[in-house]
Amino acid sequence: MEKNYYVCTGCGLLCDDIEVESEKNIINKVYTACRVGVAHMKEVRGEAGFRVDNAPVDEATAIREAASILKNAKNPLIFGLGTSTDEAQKLAIELARKTDATLDDTSSFCLGPLVEALLQDKIKTCTLDDVRNKADVIIFWGADPSDSHPRHLSKHSYFPRGSEKQRGWEEERTAIAIDVRKSHTAKICGNYFFQIPPEGDAEFIDALIAALSGKLPKTSYNYPPKKILELANILKGAKFGVIFAGLGLIYSLKDMEPVFRLMKALNEKANFQLVPMVGHYNMRGFNENLYAETGYVNRVKFENGTVKHGPEYSVVESLKAKTVDAALIIGSDPLSSLPRSVSKNLLEIPVISIDPCETLTSKHSKVYINTAISGVESGGSATRMDGIKVSFKPVVETARLSDEATLKKIMEAL
């Protein structure tokens, strides 16, 4: 029997084996998805809506107003897009080009540098299917997939049988957690949990590199050298090792150089790949689409057909310096997620919010367009955290516009 599977867009795993029972556009039952995914799919939705200055308007008015904000701005900021389809992201890039906008996404303050390194072939990477089929040593570094990507361990990284891993996780895989706290994932890793102090990652990397070449591993926080040597020994024996790098690791490093060094050292002794723990279902897609278009993964500014890139074009810096004079925010809530000192500057410029959910940002927007939930009410394609392209169809129908359709209409109105 051929089953009709849906894709869950609840996180960067894009699980593609979800069965849904629905009737009259109401989802009754969801099979195999985790609780995060079920909540994402079953989200209760009010009426579709368009608003200008917090008063309900019709679609045409909202689109016209949005277009006029962008037209009148000298340097609009376009931000978000981590939960938009590839198609919508490409349109947003085109729109940024047309309006001489500054374009950035959340990766600029999280995993952007790692994704960039992967796209530039600076680090060896692999797919989650490789991990399931081959991985024998799995490291969760500053990452807690049990909370952020609930099915990570069961669908890919630890528990499932794979083509070259038929005897099961107890015998054939070692899962290791390196983190500042005993997370749910660390708990599963049992004795292979290495607890380090906050900001201790860079030193731990150096100690581990020393241990890999048989030297005594030293840290200022006196991590027991014996434990690090033990860890190094496990890593040396890896036939197919993988590091899942999370925000905990990224935030504690000044730049990615220690990661490069570690990967080099590991690959001199064993075989290691790295996969960033991308959270939003299509953040990696945004990085890849922008990279294909401009050679950069984020933080760009378009100007008369050319493209500039640099830290000053990040969402944080451009808001701080008040260089942007309008904002188009797609599927993101910077008023909640950015520090107040930065986000408050958003209140001084006209904001267009395109989001399936009412957020703090949408409430403070000049124009709000309530869109379809991407992957539930509208289809498209996206890039999984490991770079695999996934296409999906909507689970239910809606009268709401998708991000893609919204952007297209704004573009036409320009």
Binding site: Y31, C34, R35, G37, W169
Partner: protein, 154 residues
């Protein structure tokens, strides 16, 4: 939980055999195995001096809400549907190696002990569970793989 010795300490310790067992210790073992319940010891049940212990034992062995034939209970408030237990459960793997055994949606649900429905684990087909029946073993596949201790056997 408790062991047979601790249970024994709460019994009358008179070895009167009214329960049909040869001794209070044997009764404790039968309690442990859930063959008998505290009600099956007449002195314990009837004599007021044992009341406190009787209540305690009843509390320990009260049929748990939602407990199944194997004693498996799912704390639905804790479970978040990660599927670790589903994929690690040995009979699940044996009965559906390319479905749940490989981390995917079930291909053959007929004999699966654990599945995920609406984001929460659901137990069924308990005769397949290794803790079931005469040849049961103390499998803990679903316990050690759960990040939040949502599965318990009572």
């Amino acid at each position: 939980m408790t062991n047979a010795m601790e249970l024994y300490q709460m019994l009358p310790k008179t070895n009167c055999k009214k329960c049909g067992k040869t001794s209070c210790m044997a009764f404790a073992v039968a309690l442990m195995a859930r063959e008998l319940t505290p009600e099956d010891c007449p002195p314990l049940k009837e004599e007021s001096k044992y009341r406190e212990n009787y209540e305690k034992l009843k509390e320990i062995f009260k049929p748990s809400e939602g407990a199944t034939e194997t004693g498996l209970i799912v704390h639905e408030d804790l479970c978040f549907g990660c599927g670790n237990c589903v994929v690690a459960c040995p009979p699940n793997v044996a009965n559906d190696p390319y479905g749940v055994g490989s981390g995917n949606a079930p291909r053959n649900v007929n004999k699966l002990v654990l599945t995920i429905e609406d984001g929460i684990v659901k137990a069924q087909n308990l005769e397949e569970c290794r803790r079931f029946g005469k040849n049961k073993i103390l499998c803990n596949g679903c316990i050690v793989t759960c990040p939040v201790e949502a599965i318990e056997f009572v």
